[in-house]
Each structure stands twice: as C-alpha cells, then as structure tokens.
Assembly symmetry: D2
C-alpha cells in the first residue's frame, strides 16, 4: 500500500485504574494489550477515521493475528500513561502497528510491542482494506503532520 | 410463570485468577458480577439448556437490568470459589437470580447478590421467554433434583 | 461527619474500549463498576486529594462492601461516557457514593448506582477516616465550587 | 538449571465466559494472556507446588518480561478450552513457558504463545529461584510422568 516508514507516531493518554492492578501492586500484564488497542483507535482518529465506522459501514474488521509485548518497568495505580502508536507496515490485506508505553510523570519507558492484523469481514474471510480507509492510512503522514501537538518530535 | 420458591440452588466452582486480584491483595469487586454470570450459565446447564443456544437459536437474550452485591469477606488469589445460584423469580418476560459466593476451603460466605434480567431480542426489544426454555426453567426443581450432587442440601 | 446533602456532583469522561464490549454488541455490565471507580477517584481529586496517597500514606483503604447498579440503556463501543459521582453519606468509618452514567453525544442516562465503603487498614480492620481526608470530604462542597467547570449545574 | 527439552506439557481446561467476548462475537485477544497464566499456575501444581505459596513464603515472584501470542482461530462464548503449558527454558533467575490453546470440541488449535519471566522479589530486584522450587521444576519431567492422564501423549 505505502511506505510505512513515513508514518508518524500518534499519542494518547490514559490513567491506570485500580481494576487494572494485581496483587503484586502493579498493572497486570494483559492490560497493556488493551492500552495498545486504545492507542490504535486514537491513531485511526488522528488519520481521520473512526475504527467503529469502518466495522459498521464497510464490514472491515482488524482482528489481531499476532501480538508481542516487552515489559520494561511496571505501571502503577493512578499513573498517567502515554501510549504512542505507529503504523509500521501497511499492506492491502494486513497492517502492523508498533507501540511504546511511557509513564507521563518521568518519561520512563514501561513497555513496547507490536500487533499484526489482517483485514477480515464479519464472517472471518480476509478482504482488502476499504479504499477510503486505505487512502487515509496512506495519507497518514500528511494528516498527522497537520495535527501538530498530537505527535512526538 | 412458576413459583420460584421451589427452585433449588445450582453450584459451580472456579479458581481465583491472578488477573482478578488488585493491589489491595484481594479480588477486585467487579469480578463477582462475572462469577455470578458463570453461576447463572451453569444453572441453565443444570436445567438442561445452553444459554448460548438460546441466544443463537431463539434470539432471546437476558441482559442484566439491575444488579446488587454485598461483599462480606475478600476472595484471594488461588482460592477455590463455590458459586451457588438460584432462580428467585421467573416471569414471562423477566427473571431474577440470587447468588452466594463461598470459599471452598473453609466455607466462608464471601459475597451474595442478585441480578434482574429482562428477555430481549438482539434489537433490544422485550419479548417472552421462548416456550421451550420457559418449560425447562419451570421444571427446574425436578431436573435439579435428578442431578443429585450438583446442589446443596 | 457532615451533611452529605450538600455534596456536589463531580464529573469525568472516558471512552468505551473494544475490550469492554461483549458479543451482544454492548458494554458488559460489570464494567460499570469499574467506571464508578474512575468517577470516585476523580471526585477525590476534585476534593483535593489522591486516593492512592491516602492508601499509601495513611493505610486507609475504602473497600466496597455493597454495590447496586441499574442499567437503563446500553453503552456501545467508542461512545464517550460521562461519569457523574457524588458523596451521598459520609460517616466516621464509612462513605456512600452515588453515580450516574451518561452517553455524551445525546445525554442519555445509561446507568445509575451506588457503592457503600468502609474505611479499613491493609489488614482489613475498620478504622476512622484520616483527619486530613475527612476534612477535605467535609469541605467538598466548597472546594468543588471553586473548581467551576468540573461539575454540572 | 536443567535441560528444558525434557519438560512435558501440562494441561488444564476452562470455559469461555461471556465477559471474555467482544462485539466481534469472539474472545477478546488480551484474555489469552490470562489463560496462559491459568495454564502456568496449573503446571506449577502438577510440579508439586503452589505459585501462591512461592510468592508468600519465599518472596519469589515471576513477572512477565516478554509475551508473544499467535492467534489462529477465534475462541467463542461457552467453548471449552484446553490450555497446554510447558517449560521451554529454566535458568537460575529466569523461566520461559510455551502455551497451546485448543478448543476441546474439535481439537482446533486456537492460539499459541510464549511468556518469559524473571525471578524477582517484591521490591523488583532479580533473585534466584528458591532452591525448593528450582528442584521441583528440575524434577518436572518425572513428577509429570507420575500424573499420567494430566498430560498429552
């Protein structure tokens, strides 16, 4: 589809919920995959589209077919978290995102990871990205640029 | 539909997952609603039906419209939990379940609660219980009796 | 402690995560208890304190001993949610909060509920609210007033 | 520590909860990490120890420092799931587990993955495996053999 190396990082923030901690006093590790999802959806919004609409209007879904997470330092209750997300590979029928999770207060890198998705319809058959959305992802660099403050330097 | 006072308790067991604990070292309180769901689904199985099939084949769903939980003592990681569930009210278009959550090792009552459900189709319109399922719930007492060991004295 | 009827509503917003939906296409009902927690913590922040600090510095915890939720209308994926929270009863060793959950786009009331908490130390022994925090809750009305835009009319 | 290639698979079963599904009608992908944890804990039990006791009595924790999941086919509500777990690398201060997730009804492979853990104390300092537990893992093959039906052929 396009040269993903041009894609810029999107950024969103969230606060750690008590429910996300475990008895070790840190965030339970599966929650980072949920935060990746939050980052991914907000990156789509930066790109000018709503992931929900793509599912509803185009019957195009992006199930995760592979996920990797490296945990560097634990997130803790009430930490403000920065989720940085970037497209690292965009193909006709697949897309790969990379993520970095930081603590806002001290900028510590808490985790990083990748998710690989194929484009599928509701019945689980692979399909191409709907044209409109493929274009928006292709134009990601440009539109992300316009957003200014929403991305990193 | 029927006199719910005749309904017997169903019983199922589960083990507390690390993911269900929080930084206070106990199970986070919202998980009890999930355990209630586990108890409810297993009670349906005792009654001879699969809640999944009722959704799929009859387009009859049981969304929760009201829930109440009283927390007596905390469940902890790796505890074996006993979920006891009972129908306390069964009407044409609604059903109420009661729950008791025990720790298996010492029989301590950890929590109790109720959920109230209406019967709805996928579009969110109230409807009657499908006949077949209404019958099975009506016959709950009898079929539960046959199960012997699955219920309490 | 104080006349809770004077307490104002605090307000915070969140966006529904894909992970919070279930196969009925709506938010799974236990997540509302987690949103209540988010509202409660943000209300504490409005009151001038951090719930995390109260746990850490004073060994004062607020476990939920009773919870009630009424579900009026389902929240859906990507909805922006408004959580309104209010102290309805503040005693020396216990506190009750009320919640209202709205969808931001159309102002629909999705759910409402209450949680009742006792003040405990880490070992699970009831204790009084730490003086400093009791004062801040008592002064809730005044400090909430100063915050202006953070509360509803 | 020992030649991990000798380690046998442990096996445990669970049933998909409604709360684990998402609006695509399948299990939300982060839940597989929680099922991996269930498999890991049950494998420890096969090895003759309780992960909870190791945390409590020895202050030895096994935080996840890296996780990988490949998703082959979606798990669905009420599916009975088989979690197979195996030690693939055991060192003095670290351990790696591999997982396979199957659907019981048709034996379909739904997902597979790995988690890598370091041994830490509560303060987050790396340490060695407590001797007693190192021994039990080392003897894993033998003790797993004795269990017979609990492992695959």
């Amino acid at each position: 589809m396009n040269n993903a190396e041009d894609h810029k990082w999107g950024e969103t923030r969230l606060r750690v919920r008590y429910a996300e901690t475990d008895q070790a006093g840190v965030v339970y590790h599966s929650n980072y995959l949920i935060w990746f999802e939050v980052g991914r959806v907000e990156l789509c919004r930066d790109y000018g589209f709503n992931y929900r609409d793509m599912e509803r209007e185009e019957d195009a879904h992006l199930p995760v077919v592979e996920a990797r997470v490296k945990y560097h330092s634990p997130a803790r209750y009430d930490d403000e978290i920065v989720v940085r997300t970037r497209v690292v590979q965009a193909r006709t029928r697949a897309i790969k995102f990379a993520y970095e999770i930081f603590r806002a207060s001290d900028g510590a890198l808490l985790a990083e990871g990748e998710t690989y998705h194929v484009v599928m319809n509701k019945q689980g058959r692979t399909r191409s990205f709907p044209m409109k959305y493929a274009e928006m992802i292709k134009n990601g660099k440009a539109s992300a640029d316009k957003q200014g403050g929403k991305e990193s330097q």
